[in-house]
Each structure stands twice: as structure tokens, then as C-alpha cells.
Amino acid sequence: MDFDFYLSTMWSVLKALPLTLEIWFFGIAFGLVIATGLTWLRASGYKLGEYFTRAYVFIFRGSPLLVQLYLIYFGLSQFDFVRHSPILWPVLRDPMYCTIVAMALNTAAYESEIFRGALRAVPVGQIEAAKAFGMPAFTRFRLVTLPIALRLALPAYSTEIILMTKATALASVVTIMEMMGTAQKIQHDTFRPIEVLTCAGVIYLLLNLSIARLFAWVEYRLSPHLRPPPEQSQQIKPVPEVL
């Protein structure tokens, strides 16, 4: 085993980690914004909104992210109006922006489905209690529906975020030298795929491990009511006969 080579490869790939994290962060941040909008459209009860979200999810969940990325980066520049648009062209000629746009659009489709499922899974009784106490719709949503739905969505959402971490590797096919791009370049230069790809794989593993741990921690913090009860140290007194 050539430890020096492993170390130098590790170091080179790690230097590309900030770029990977940048794509990852902006991809999921914009994705979350779009997903929130889609969920709202879907839940609003407007037929048109429902059809739009259904079509959106069908397209972006049903086709490969790679195809979407190619269409956005290579495809859209075919159109003259895109190349001459002062707003679209600065975004769409940049592979970095294109990757972020593709990831955000793609993950939004999955996340909106996750959120829709979570909202529907909030027990009716919890919402009815909020209604019966006179809470207006927004208060009801903020105090009861949303906190419960977020907890329900978290496990599936964390899986989606991990999928997105791995999807950042696709940026390498549109010339971005993030971790995967860097690894591929070293591989081409050295013809040592096992060592190089192992290094990249290990870094992705560790990255996803920390993301999973982070979500597990958040989930733990948010769900004291789902853990076993605290020690029954205090004895409960029976209700006095005369209150």
C-alpha cells in the first residue's frame, strides 16, 4: 500500500470539499423554498395548484437528475432567447448555477411529496382540539400542525438530504471540479482508480455519516414525547375525594 499516495489523494479531494458543500447547501436551500411553495400550492385546495404540483412531481421525480442537469446546462443554451436574456444567461451559462438549479428543482419534487405525506399524517384529533379552542387557522398551523408534521417529515427528509449529498457528484459531468471531479482528474492522471475512488468514497461516507448523526440529534431533541417516560420518581397522589 502506497500511503503517501493515499494521503496526497485524500488531501487533494478534501480541498474540493468546500465546493461540494456549496453545491449541496444552495441546492437543498433553494430546494426547500420551492418544496414549501409546492406543498402550499398542493394543500391550498386550488385545483389548478394541485394539477401543477402533480405535473411537477411527475416530471422531476420521474426523470433522472442527470437528464435534467444536461437539459438545463446543454439544452437551454440552444434557445436564442436564453442566450440573449440578461437574467437567464448569466445563470444558465455557469455550470455551478446550473447544477444548483437542477438539484433544487429535483429535490423540491421529492420534498414536496414528503411534506404532503407528513401534513396528512398529523392526527385529526390534534387539529380538532386546536379548532375547538378557537385558534385561527394560522395559529393552529404554527402551534400544532407544523411542529407535528415536521417531526413526521424528518426521517424521510434526512434521507433526501443524504441522496442530495451523493447527487452533488453529478456536478463533475458539467466541468465542476468538486470532490468527484477532482477524484476523476487524479484517476485519469495516475491510472489508479481503486485508490482514488476509495478516497473519494470514504469522504462521502464520512460526510453522510455526520449528516445522518446531525439529523438523528435534531430528531432526538424534537421528540421527547416519543421516548420512554422519565423515571417515575415522584409518586402521584390520588385525586382527593373532596376537591
Binding site: P123, G125, Q126, E128, A129, A130, K131, A132, F133, G134, M135, P136, A137, T139, L143, V144, P147, I148, R151, L222, P224, H225, L226, P229, P230, Q234, Q235, I236, K237, P238, V239, P240, E241, L243
Partner: protein, 271 residues
């Protein structure tokens, strides 16, 4: 008319005080099934009305129509003399004309549910404070103080920082009653408060309810607890197949059942 005339006369003459709740000719269908066939009810301040009836008689639906958790198809509901304004929606059903009014009225009608429906992600104390601070906009410190006092009253102050899933059914229901009391409601609606409890836990909840009745609170109680209906309530209302079968003083009603249906109903309980 559906209501028995003696019952109607009884309801009208029982008191001259302002009625806390007045329901007239309430109708409600679920699909083809008519659950409420024109129900009327009058509750005066301080009344404790037990609403009895076999399952499917419409008693829970009636209670849920009062705070509009269920939308009645027709009929009117007045709370403290104020009519809940309704309008026809486009699909031909009734809908509240002014949701703000409904929310204001609901805040005066605290409800206790069969399955407690405490907010599971909040501690007991937070459950008690949530609605008073966010709906009535009372200061949090004052609400916390009141909440602790109420929890002491229902005997679960030691559990104030527990989450509902960590408590027994009886403790949860007592917390739910305390949550309702925290709103200082004009009327309390109980929807089968003891039906989801183990038999040995029913007593603790009934004791709390009895103490509320004794301090003169206005309560509508949908229940299967014959003892509570007979001994604690000031009026008993028996629903049969979506209609008011009989209304009356509990002692008289149980001693001399006014209708064969009610006689049959209590006979089944005494078996």
C-alpha cells in the same frame, strides 16, 4: 314535530335566565344517512345536561355541531344569546359566515374529547398555556400561574412537565379538563370523556367533573355514565335515532322512564 311536546315545554319553562346555549332544529346528514333530524336544546347558566343515547343516536354529532367541528346542514345555534351566522356555500352546504365569530365563540366553549387530544408535542403545562396565550392573548406568566393552580386542582401538578403519552388515560383526561378550564369557558362540552378509559380510571375523571358541576359550571356532557347522569346532572336528554326522545329531571327520568325507548335503554345498562 320530532321533539316530544312535554320535553319541549319542560325545556322552555325550566328557567327565565339567559340561555347559555340554545340549539334549534339542528339537522345533519352524512351522505344519505340523516344523523340529526331536527334537534333542539336549551341550556341555561349553571345547567349540567347529560346527553344520553345509544351509539349512532347522534349525540356526539350534536355536540360537535355546537362548536362547528361538524357543520350542521340546517338549524341555528346560539351561544350566550349570540347567533352563529351561517351562509350557503357554493356546493350547497352551510358554512360559517364569519370565521372570526366562530373562533371567538369556540374560545368560550371549551371541549373535552373522548380521546383527550392533548397536543402530544407539548408538555402538560404547555398544553394548558397554549390557547389562553395565543387565543385570549393573556400574559404568559398569568397563564402559567393559573395552569399550575388548575393542575393542582385536578391532582396532576406533579406531572406538569410530562408529555401526554407518558401519562395514564385518566391523567391525560384530567389534564384535558384542566386545559379546557384554563380558557375560563362559559360552557364546557364533554364528548364521552370517560369512554376511552380503563374502568378503574373512570372514577378519577368523574370526580373532577362532579366538582365542576358543583361549582355551578354550565356543562353539556355526552356520556354513558348512568351514575353521573342520574346523580350529578340537572337535566337529562335522551336521543334516539337522531331525535330528542325525552328530556327531563334526572331523578324522574330514571324513576319513571317517559318513553319505551328510554326504558329499554336504561334496562340495557342495568343488566
Amino acid at each position: 314535530m320530532s321533539a316530544n311536546p312535554a320535553a319541549a315545554a319542560n325545556a322552555a319553562s325550566s328557567s327565565n335566565e339567559a340561555s347559555a346555549i340554545s340549539v334549534k332544529e339542528l339537522r345533519k346528514c352524512f351522505g344519505d344517512h340523516e344523523v340529526l333530524k331536527g334537534i333542539s336544546l336549551e341550556a341555561h347558566k349553571g345547567d349540567v345536561i347529560s346527553i344520553l343515547g345509544s351509539s349512532g343516536s347522534g349525540k356526539s354529532t350534536m355536540l360537535r355541531c355546537i362548536n362547528l367541528l361538524e357543520m350542521p346542514d340546517s338549524g341555528e345555534v346560539r351561544v350566550d344569546g349570540e347567533l352563529i351566522k351561517m351562509k350557503q356555500s357554493r356546493d350547497g352546504h352551510q358554512a360559517p359566515a364569519d370565521i372570526r365569530q366562530v373562533e371567538r365563540i369556540r374560545a368560550n366553549l371549551a371541549m373535552v374529547f373522548q380521546s383527550f387530544n392533548l397536543w402530544s408535542h407539548m408538555t402538560v403545562l404547555e398544553n394548558l398555556v397554549a390557547a389562553p396565550t395565543h387565543v385570549l392573548k393573556r400574559p404568559r406568566a398569568e397563564c402559567l400561574e393559573q395552569a399550575e393552580a388548575l393542575l393542582k386542582r385536578v391532582g396532576i401538578w406533579e406531572r406538569r412537565n410530562y408529555y401526554p403519552p407518558h401519562m395514564s388515560g385518566g391523567q391525560q383526561q384530567r389534564a384535558a379538563i384542566a386545559r379546557a378550564l384554563a380558557m375560563n369557558p362559559k360552557v364546557m362540552l364533554f364528548d364521552e370523556p370517560t369512554s376511552a378509559l380503563d374502568p378503574e380510571l373512570v372514577g378519577e375523571v368523574l370526580r373532577v367533573m362532579r366538582s365542576l358541576a358543583e361549582e355551578g359550571r354550565t356543562m353539556l356532557v355526552v356520556t354513558h355514565e348512568m351514575g353521573f347522569a342520574r346523580d350529578v346532572s340537572s337535566k337529562v336528554m335522551f336521543l334516539h335515532k337522531g331525535e330528542v326522545d325525552s328530556v327531563g329531571e334526572p331523578k324522574e327520568m330514571f324513576a319513571k322512564p317517559p318513553t319505551p325507548q328510554f326504558k329499554q335503554f336504561i334496562a340495557n345498562f342495568n343488566k
